[in-house]
């Protein structure tokens, strides 16, 4: 009897866990994305310009990486 109860609890926990994983409700609805879709909210609004400035920084500074620029090699040292 006790085993049946635990089995049921286990099944319920599985259902809840699986349901949570696949059904987390997006808390920003698709129809609320007006501001997010605004070009001024785009991290890469000007990809060519950003890549160039990132290249200038990498050439003049000792740090590199994690700055949104694509890494290509150059003899700029």
């Amino acid at each position: 009897m006790k085993i049946n109860a635990f089995a049921l609890i286990f099944i319920m926990l599985c259902i809840v866990a699986l349901s949570s994983c696949s059904r987390v409700k997006p808390w920003v609805k698709p129809y609320e994305r007006q501001n997010i879709a605004d070009p001024i909210m785009d991290f890469s609004r000007d990809p060519v310009a950003d890549a160039y400035l990132s290249h200038v920084h990498e050439a003049r500074e000792g740090a590199s990486g994690a700055d949104g620029g694509a890494g290509g090699g150059c003899g700029c040292n």
């Binding site: 009897m1 006790k2 109860a5 635990f6 049921l8 609890i9 319920m12 926990l13 259902i15 809840v16 349901s19 949570s20 696949s22 059904r23 987390v24 409700k25 997006p26 808390w27 920003v28 698709p30 609320e32 994305r33 007006q34 501001n35 997010i36 605004d38 001024i40 909210m41 991290f43 000007d46 990809p47 060519v48 310009a49 890549a51 160039y52 400035l53 200038v56 920084h57 003049r60 500074e61 000792g62 740090a63 590199s64 990486g65 994690a66 700055d67 949104g68 694509a70 890494g71 290509g72 090699g73 150059c74 003899g75 700029c76 040292n77």
Partner: protein
């Protein structure tokens, strides 16, 4: 007793289940149609002027979608360099150089996953680089979260010019690897954030003892000999490992403007530690004029083997006098204007003209301005080696470009 406990547990489970179901019950399985990036052409003229170096040239980017799943891009970029920088003056005279960089990329979008491939080549008389990159990214929670991983492999050949002509005996092979992970998140309907982690490792291949591929072959380290500065070629390690982390965030203000902040930390196997912070504000005026203002600060410490002046020849195993490995801080301000053309040009959906100006100001804490005094008149008594004024420079970066969306 046990029976009552189990019954109570089941009743509590029901409550728990009910609560989770209340959260889940209205959730229909999210289905979003992920959209490919905008198709566009960007034509830019860039210009850098600072510290005795002028570099300018074009950069052209084309992005085109094929079907509803593939996005292709290609970039052609040129640096035309005219340099009489402090490094150059220390051991040579003004030179001119041209570097051509070409790259192609492909993104393939399937359901919520995007696969990316890229290839970049860079060619100049004394340096050829090829970089291959591969990336995967996945969106979750109805596009609110994106997690991506990127890998890059670079194969470079380092050369050296003698009086403007490549030295046929000087060929060093260098391999660069980068690994990065990024997580971007829509936090609220006005707020987004992105976390980036990147590690890199550079290594010299097929090396004989002594000659590293990681330093500038024209630069020398400075050491004290009989009370004056003497110069010998730099000695660098054969490997370089880097780690960087950055966090950026952007917030949409209650009117048509956004504010953005970014911080990045860096550390490497040469002892350099750096961090930079940046803040940007963009405002949209009547939808055809954008104004952007930016402020950035950067600070770094010295590499373990850096010195402005070594006490004698071969003082250490590794010795460098690259100012980019010296301790320094820099501040830059930037301002940019974007104008959207009100009429449709040649069938393009949207076109803009953009002008950005950035002014950088760098102060070196342990790099002395001795080269500029080599040929100039010294003050009475001169400067003793190691007591020359610290070097400082300003640079202006101008980007002018036209963008066309189709």
């Amino acid at each position: 007793m046990a029976r009552e406990v189990v019954v109570v547990v089941i009743k509590k489970m029901n409550k728990f289940l009910l609560t989770s179901l209340v959260l889940c019950v209205a959730a229909v399985y999210p289905v979003t149609a992920a959209v490919l990036p905008d198709e566009r052409v960007d034509v830019m003229e860039h210009s850098y002027d600072g510290g005795g170096i002028q570099v300018s040239g074009p950069s052209i980017l084309v992005r085109k979608n094929v079907g509803s799943a593939v996005s292709l891009s290609a970039n052609y970029y040129v640096d035309m360099v005219s340099s009489a920088s402090i490094d150059v003056l220390a051991s040579a005279s003004r030179y001119s150089e041209e570097r051509i960089q070409k790259s192609v990329g492909m993104d393939y979008m399937h359901d919520r996953t995007t696969y990316s491939l890229g290839y970049i080549t860079s060619d100049e008389k004394d340096y050829q680089a090829k970089t291959y990159s591969f990336g995967v990214s996945q969106t979750f929670f109805g596009d609110l979260t994106t997690l991506g991983f990127d890998f890059g492999l670079g194969q470079d050949v380092v050369g050296r010019n003698i009086k403007g002509v490549p030295d046929p005996t000087f060929h060093l092979d260098k391999e660069r690897r980068t690994y990065s992970a990024n997580l971007s998140q829509i936090l609220t309907k006005n707020w987004i954030a992105e976390l980036n982690v990147e590690s890199g490792s550079d290594a010299c291949l097929h090396m004989q003892q002594g000659q590293s591929c990681l330093n500038n072959p024209y630069r020398g380290y400075s050491y004290l000999q009989n009370g004056v500065r003497a110069l010998l070629p730099e000695k660098y390690p054969l490997t370089h490992n880097t780690d960087a982390v950055s966090l950026r965030t952007m917030y949409h203000l209650p009117y048509s403007a956004s504010i953005r902040g970014e911080v990045r930390g860096f550390t490497d196997s040469w002892g350099v530690k750096a961090h930079n912070e940046e803040i940007r504000y963009v405002q949209d005026f009547k939808k055809d004029l954008l104004l952007e203002v930016k402020y950035r600060v950067y600070r770094q410490t010295a590499a373990d083997f850096y010195s402005d002046l070594f006490p004698y020849k071969d003082a250490q195993n590794y010795m460098a006098r690259d100012k980019e490995l010296s301790p320094f801080s820099s501040k830059s301000v930037g301002v940019g204007l974007t104008y959207k053309f009100p009429w449709n040009i040649a069938g393009f959906e949207k076109s803009t003209a953009n002008l950005y100006w950035d002014h950088m100001s760098i102060n070196y804490d342990d790099f002395r301005d001795y080269a500029n005094f080599l040929k100039a008149k010294l003050p009475a008594g001169g400067y003793k080696p190691g007591e020359e004024p610290l070097y400082a420079m300003d640079a202006d970066v101008i980007r002018f470009y036209l963008s066309f969306w189709f």
